[in-house]
C-alpha cells in the first residue's frame, strides 16, 4: 500500500479556469474568474462570507451550473459535465457522511461504484484507515464517531478513489480549536504525500496561510490577489487585501511630491516616503493600513528618526498575553497598537509608525475597502 501511495505522487491534475461566470437566477456570484492550479499544488481560496469562494469550489465540483467559461482538467473542458464525471473528490464542511452506512461502507462507496471486488475494497479501506490513524474502525457507525474522526473518514472517502483533485470546503470549521490545529498539519501532510492537487476554501486567514502554498483572495466574485502567503501578507495588492489580511488600523495621510522626493503627512507628523513607494503614490490624499504589531508607543516628544510619530493618548488597554494591547487616540484617528511596556489610561504617548511597514494606497482606491 505504501508503495502504491508513493506511486500516485504524480496523480495531481492541473486545473485551468477561464472566464468563469456563475450565478443563481439573476444574481451574478462570480464575474469572470481566470485561475490556474498546477499539479500537486495546495491553493486556498480565502475571503469573507459571500465573496464567492464556496460557489467557486462548487462550480469546480459541478454542484453549481456554470453560466459561461471553461474549466479544463486533463485537456478537456469539464464545465458542462455532471459531478460524477469530473474526477474531483470533495470533503464537505458538514462531512456529509452517510449515517445509514458504516465507516467501511462510507469509504468503500466509491470503490464499489467502480466495481472493485469486495475483498479488495476491504483491504484498501483497511489501508486507508491505517493511513488516517483509524485502524479497526471499519464496523463503526459514523454517527458514533467524534468530530475529528468523522473528518478523517470524510477525507478517507474522498481519497479512496485516488482522485487527481481534492476539494476542501471549510473542512475544519466544525472542529474545536485544538483538533483543528492538528488536522491542518495532517491534511497538509497527506496532500504532500499523495501529491494530489488541493483546493481549499476557508475564511480563516491563519488556516489558509499555514496550509496552502498559494492564496487566492476573493472579493465580491472577483479575484483580489493571488500569491504565496508571504506575498499576500507583506505586499497586499489592494486596500481590501491589506485589510482582510489583518492590517485593520487605518490612517488617513497626505502625500506631497517635491523635487527631492516625497513626504507623508499625518496631522502634524511628517516623514520621508521611501524611494520604492514614491512613484506608486500620486500626490494627494491616501490611506495607510497597518497591523497592531507594527506601531510602537514612545514618549510624546520622541524624535521622528524617519518614522511617523504622532501625538496621542491611551484610550483603552487590554492584556491578551505577552504584550499589552492599546487603543490609542490621536487627533485624526484611533488605532490599536501592541506594546510590551505598560502605560496608564490617558497617558500622553508618541505613536511611532515605521513608514516601510505601512500599506499605503491612494484614497480613491482605498475607499473601496471601507
Amino acid at each position: 500500500m505504501r508503495a502504491e501511495r508513493q506511486q500516485s505522487l504524480r496523480s495531481g491534475e492541473a486545473i485551468s479556469v477561464r472566464g468563469l461566470h456563475v450565478g443563481y437566477g439573476n444574481t451574478r456570484v462570480l464575474h469572470g474568474i481566470d485561475l490556474d492550479f498546477s499539479p500537486g499544488s495546495f491553493t486556498a481560496l480565502l475571503g469573507s462570507s459571500g465573496c464567492g469562494k464556496t460557489t467557486m469550489l462548487r462550480s469546480l465540483s459541478g454542484f453549481v451550473p456554470v453560466q459561461s467559461g471553461s474549466i479544463m482538467v486533463g485537456g478537456r473542458d469539464v464545465a458542462g459535465l455532471p459531478p460524477e464525471k469530473r474526477g474531483m473528490a470533495m470533503v464537505f464542511q458538514s462531512y456529509a457522511l452517510w449515517p445509514h452506512m458504516t465507516v467501511l461502507q462510507n469509504i468503500g462507496y466509491g470503490l464499489k461504484l467502480r466495481g472493485v471486488p469486495k475483498a479488495e475494497i476491504a483491504a484498501k479501506v483497511a489501508a486507508m484507515l491505517e493511513f488516517l490513524g483509524l485502524s479497526g474502525y471499519e464496523g463503526r457507525k459514523v454517527t458514533a464517531l467524534s468530530g475529528g474522526q468523522r473528518q478523517r473518514v470524510a477525507l478517507g472517502r474522498a481519497l479512496a478513489i485516488d482522485p487527481g483533485i481534492l476539494l476542501l470546503d471549510e473542512p475544519l470549521s466544525n472542529l474545536d480549536a485544538k483538533i483543528r490545529m492538528t488536522m491542518r498539519h495532517e491534511i497538509r501532510a497527506i496532500q504532500q504525500r499523495l501529491g494530489v492537487t488541493a483546493v481549499h476554501v476557508t475564511h480563516d486567514r491563519e488556516e489558509a496561510m499555514t496550509m496552502a502554498d498559494r492564496l487566492v483572495i476573493m472579493e465580491a466574485g472577483r479575484i483580489a490577489q493571488v500569491g504565496t502567503p508571504e506575498e499576500v501578507y507583506d505586499r497586499p495588492a489592494s486596500a481590501f487585501v491589506a485589510n482582510f489580511m489583518g492590517a485593520e488600523n487605518i490612517l488617513p495621510l497626505r502625500v506631497e511630491h517635491s523635487a527631492g522626493g516625497a513626504s507623508l503627512f499625518a496631522g502634524d507628523a511628517a516623514a520621508e516616503l521611501p524611494p520604492a513607494l514614491r512613484d506608486a503614490l500620486p500626490a494627494g490624499r491616501a490611506m495607510a493600513y497597518f497591523r497592531d504589531d507594527v506601531a510602537r508607543l514612545d514618549a510624546a516628544d520622541a524624535p521622528s528618526a524617519g518614522d511617523l510619530v504622532m501625538a496621542g493618548h491611551v484610550a483603552a488597554r487590554a492584556y491578551p498575553g505577552g504584550v499589552y494591547r492599546y487603543r490609542v487616540k490621536t487627533d485624526d484617528c484611533e488605532v490599536t497598537v501592541d506594546d510590551a511596556t505598560r502605560h496608564e489610561l490617558g497617558a500622553k504617548v508618541g505613536l511611532r509608525i515605521p513608514v516601510q511597514r505601512l500599506h499605503i494606497f491612494p484614497a480613491s482606491e482605498a475607499g473601496l475597502a471601507a
Binding site: F92, P99, A160
Partner: protein, 271 residues
Amino acid sequence: MMRLASAARATFAAAILTAFAFVLIGPLANLALWSVAERWYTPYKLPVTYGTRYWEQVFRPTGDAMASLGTSVWIAVLTVIVALALSIPAGYALARLKLPMRAAFMVLFLLPQAFPSVAIYINVARVFYQLGINGTVLGVVLVHAAHGLVYSVWIAAAAFAAVDKDLELAARNIGASPLRTFFTVTLPLAMPGIIASGIFVFLESLDEFTGTFFVGVPQVTTLPLLLYNAAMGGNYQVASITALILLVPSVLFMLFIERFLRADVLAKVGA
C-alpha cells in the same frame, strides 16, 4: 395552610387525570367488556354472563370475520403498493425539484379531503359502475389509494426534504449517477418516513368505511363493513371484537412512530 393547598392541588390534578383517562379509556373498556359479555341487558350495569363464545365465533376459520379480515388486509396491502408507487416519485419531485406551482401540487393532493366524502364516493361509484370495476377489489383499492395519497405524498415529501442535499452531492461527487445516488443514499435515508407513510395508508385503508360502502358493497366485505353490519344487526359482541381487532395495528403504528421517526421529518410535513 400550605399543605392544604398542595393537597387540594393534588386532588384537582388527580380528578382531571381521571376524567381524561375515562374519556380515553372509557369507550375502550366498554368495547372490551362487550366482547366478553354473553348476556347483558338493562337494568344491569355489568354483563350478566361472561364468556368467549363470540370470540370463538369471530375467529372460527369459516366465519365471516376471518374472511373479511383477509379481504381487508389484502386491500390494504394493494393500497399501500399503489400509494407508495405514486408518492415516492411525487414526494421526491416535490421535495427536490424546482417545480413551478409546487404549492398548487401539494394542495391538489389535499383536494379529495376538501369535499364531503359521501358526495364524492357516490359519483366515484357511478363512474366505476360504468367502467365495470364497481364491487371489485381493484375499485376499492383505487378509492383507498386516492384517499391515502393525501397523507403519503405529504409525508414522503417531508421525508425526502429532510435528507441533507450534501449527502446526495457527496455520492455524485465520487462517481455515482443520479439514479444510483437515489437508491443508495436518498431512498434509504428517507425510508423511515416512507415506511411510516406506508403504515399510515395501510391503517387508513383498514379503517376506511364510506368509500368501501359505495364502491365495494355487496361483493367486497371489509372488516369495517362487517362491523357496521354486526352493529346494525344488534350484535354488539361481534362489533366490539371487530373494533378491537382494528385497534391493534393502530397501536403498533403509534409505537413505530414514537420509536423510529425522527422529529425533523415530522417537522417538515407540509413544509
